[in-house]
Symmetry: D3
Subunit: 223 residues, 6 copies
Amino acid sequence: MNVVVQNIKRADVDVIAGLAKCGVATVHEAQGRKGLLADYMRPIYSGARVAGSAVTILAPPCDNWMLHVAIEQLQAGDLLVLGTTSPSNAGYFGDLLATSAMARGCKGLIIDAGVRDVRDLTEMGFPVWSNAVFAQGTIKETLGSVNVPITCAGAQINAGDVIVADDDGVCVVCREEAADVLAKAQAREANEADKRARFKAGELGLDMYDMRGRLAAKGLKYV
Amino acid sequence: MNVVVQNIKRADVDVIAGLAKCGVATVHEAQGRKGLLADYMRPIYSGARVAGSAVTILAPPCDNWMLHVAIEQLQAGDLLVLGTTSPSNAGYFGDLLATSAMARGCKGLIIDAGVRDVRDLTEMGFPVWSNAVFAQGTIKETLGSVNVPITCAGAQINAGDVIVADDDGVCVVCREEAADVLAKAQAREANEADKRARFKAGELGLDMYDMRGRLAAKGLKYV
Amino acid sequence: MNVVVQNIKRADVDVIAGLAKCGVATVHEAQGRKGLLADYMRPIYSGARVAGSAVTILAPPCDNWMLHVAIEQLQAGDLLVLGTTSPSNAGYFGDLLATSAMARGCKGLIIDAGVRDVRDLTEMGFPVWSNAVFAQGTIKETLGSVNVPITCAGAQINAGDVIVADDDGVCVVCREEAADVLAKAQAREANEADKRARFKAGELGLDMYDMRGRLAAKGLKYV
Amino acid sequence: MNVVVQNIKRADVDVIAGLAKCGVATVHEAQGRKGLLADYMRPIYSGARVAGSAVTILAPPCDNWMLHVAIEQLQAGDLLVLGTTSPSNAGYFGDLLATSAMARGCKGLIIDAGVRDVRDLTEMGFPVWSNAVFAQGTIKETLGSVNVPITCAGAQINAGDVIVADDDGVCVVCREEAADVLAKAQAREANEADKRARFKAGELGLDMYDMRGRLAAKGLKYV
Amino acid sequence: MNVVVQNIKRADVDVIAGLAKCGVATVHEAQGRKGLLADYMRPIYSGARVAGSAVTILAPPCDNWMLHVAIEQLQAGDLLVLGTTSPSNAGYFGDLLATSAMARGCKGLIIDAGVRDVRDLTEMGFPVWSNAVFAQGTIKETLGSVNVPITCAGAQINAGDVIVADDDGVCVVCREEAADVLAKAQAREANEADKRARFKAGELGLDMYDMRGRLAAKGLKYV
Amino acid sequence: MNVVVQNIKRADVDVIAGLAKCGVATVHEAQGRKGLLADYMRPIYSGARVAGSAVTILAPPCDNWMLHVAIEQLQAGDLLVLGTTSPSNAGYFGDLLATSAMARGCKGLIIDAGVRDVRDLTEMGFPVWSNAVFAQGTIKETLGSVNVPITCAGAQINAGDVIVADDDGVCVVCREEAADVLAKAQAREANEADKRARFKAGELGLDMYDMRGRLAAKGLKYV
């Protein structure tokens, strides 16, 4: 059965903004090293760092019809997140759809398929993380669903989950856990600032983390 | 039998220039979604968009001898297009060959193998789409052919066909169809300009393309 | 047995600087087309060109403990070079470790595994060549070794070997052969400057290298 | 938090047996073309066709400790299903663990990682679908969880879901839907028997499915 | 434009039978080392060796409609050969279609996409060379063409060309060249029988092919 | 410089036979989890288990000349082990070379490149582990070396090292360590026989290895 779930819950705007600032690596660590999408999901340009609520799309292979359906469900600050029912690298998304999505306040696209018009998308400042850049066109023949749970690049994503994406890749945070994860991520960041200063001053991790005894106990020999 | 075909027909210069302006995604759509090379063909730097007549090269694996032969056949505005008789990622081409090719007006290289000296090539503004960046050297021992039909990254290419390449990848247009494809591509572009404005103003694809009825008929449920 | 070899020999500083200037493709050719790491080793940003003495790390999969151990062994001008005992794409290295390594004069990292915090590393100007960009965290449970011979991306590397890395990839030069390779690489460069000028002036490789006779003898036909 | 869920619900034994008999392709179609694991999951030998209740394992990379924990949770007719928190091809499982699992009535293993001792496993008749055959050893250092929801080869799997596996790959059926899917799969099979006979007698799909009119309407030309 | 070419020329039956007997490696060598499909095309079971006239299919991704159309065009001794307009691993073909194809005398399938029901196909003795085994279902929505020139796994194939396939992979022979290639392949086989006997008796290739002088001339040193 | 090292040391015949009997997984564990070749090295048929002394070959891409040279260096019980100077999947080896190698007592081939005539090789009982099955022909133009240290599928191999290969893959054992590794492997096997019996009788690994306390200490919860 193909459905469009119209009312989804979203995380708090400030929580989302906070997670964006922390970035993927920190958020991934803060939530116990879970939620990463596969490393083949790469940004079309460097330097973007975004977070947003997932409007999820389950799409057939080589068929981008559901993107049009999903765009109507977007609210400002959302991210489109597309998984397919069969692997595809076709170019589901280009500058026209990006124009439409941006008009509704969409902040980017996470797609386990291909994207095209990447030069235009770069100029427009619309970030995309995809499994391919490929101009191959798609059709509009088969239904999928919007705002249902999907698997995208190996990660389980529910509509309204918070997605964080930057040059390191993409991470999903469960909506219910987002505030808690942000608190942990910010604590981690505060802690890292101190460490960064000490590392810069030449202190070694061996000493900072008191590793020498444990290394010796495990049998490491210096020769 | 190894041959060099010396006189090849080329498409009209203005047609080629027009296709370059349209770009890969539009040209691919305009000619009925055919002609794309595989998505593993990536540019060595972002932002280049070129079109030119193909001087084709069928080369043995790890042997770049035929590139020297092909360069003599170049006319201003041509692109070198190399396929191999066995898969290879070796670095067939670097800054010296690029200097030679540029001296004859060559606008770039499409190679289903590796390229090297990419920092120099980037500074020289000589764009390359390749399956790898790899410094591995090649030899000059075995003949191939120039300006014969080749398969390159899964696409069939004849000498004199028009190649369009940009950040989205590479597309081949049959020489005989080039003018017709350009007309269709330009019509498509004109059409897209209007759509882009309407999308920007917030109109939805669902309405612009009158999709709601067909979606309902196929059984899409809003919940 | 897990060991840290503390005193390693390094090549001459001027030799290393000379090799960096020549770059990967030239050095690879000069030493007889050997020493390249696999082409999947890609830089996290374009434009870096470095050479340094290898401080080698043999690390367990998904365990970055030995990086802390290795950093203590760094001298100014060294490069960290990490191979794993089982394939891994986890993110062994980020901005904190980079801060620590830079404090000791380290010039970069070559890692047959993943790296993260690439936006920070780019801003810091710390170049990394890796098999993946991936935020996946690692543990600190199992010993490895430092400054032992390793295999990294298919190449055999000994501690103190000279590593050259740029946009074309990564090449290893045996420490004992470094001065000799530099001499050959510089001779090659001098030779190339002359060729570059002649290519620019329009001379063909077919004539410069006197290839026409040999091509005809092998049976190449012009039609 | 690392947990072992001890009491899981399982589908009816006869339903599971029925699904095994239908096989992966039929079950996948019967449940609306969902539930397939990625095509890189291959059997270690040909000819096995099994179904069973999933005892799920979420395991760290290169660490097979949780397999020992999971085996205690097995009931006769179960399948072990392992996903990792970071990609791995290490050999988590061999003939000793298979002996232990078989002693508890386990019918096979689905693992998005490596397996080893495949000659022994083949002789023992213990089928495995894996992403690799690799002898690389694993450690027992880090906890995971048992009978929690996992992602395995791109599919979401809950403990107690029915897994069907044969030479075509692996498919997951939600426990709650298993009886319904079986009914649909059996109807499909009955239908196929009739079609098979008609195909064998030479009837064409074009006629059997009455396709000629729709093909002509779409514009197919016979020349 | 989507077409079905109904009357195609085929090579002589005895020539096709002769090529089958020679096998892929010999035929590939005999025709000058061309015509191989990519090495990812693997047989679903070992031991099959077939040759036949290609009935070509250009199919959309994940849409197997054209297979039904193509089966009507089969004559006894033909092989179905399918390329797609966009990469796909979906399961286009299973035991029902195989039953239909066998009823018309079809000897096998070459498909640059996926296949399913491989256990049944193996029992039926219907050989398939494919890029994947995957149960993923396909649709019947979009037209393709039959008996037009296609690219399949990197090779250009025209309807009526002779396809040879065995455990080494798949090779295409141009219809017009088939008799000539057969003659060369048989000469090669006769020649190999003699060599095989001499190798078996212990004669070395170094002596049989008189290589020692050329090796020494190139500089090979025995130490 | 291209050399053929004619006199290499080999491990004791009984040690080699013992290692063959233990198999890859046990040997790999016994020598401290090192020495595995990459998991893409697959046997052309199932069930072979061999060990032998490595006659190493460093070969250019797509050039099998050095195989002829290496065969002269074979003694009964040796294995040919080929690495390339640039990645290749070409078919370096077929039934003629196998006939020649078998005439000298060679027990198999390990090749980080392609192999062909696999149906014949299977009938002859000549096992091969390769990175590809591909009929693509090679040339005889460029020298390599025989019995020099090589890298093969990511592992460092010296001439005379013992290679163990079976359905799990390929493992290299340093010649000097072979006797010691055998002793450890046999001890391991003896130990495993006891464990196997206990597992068969239903004892759990959790109890046999006394894991429950450590699991609880790490925080595993049963719910």
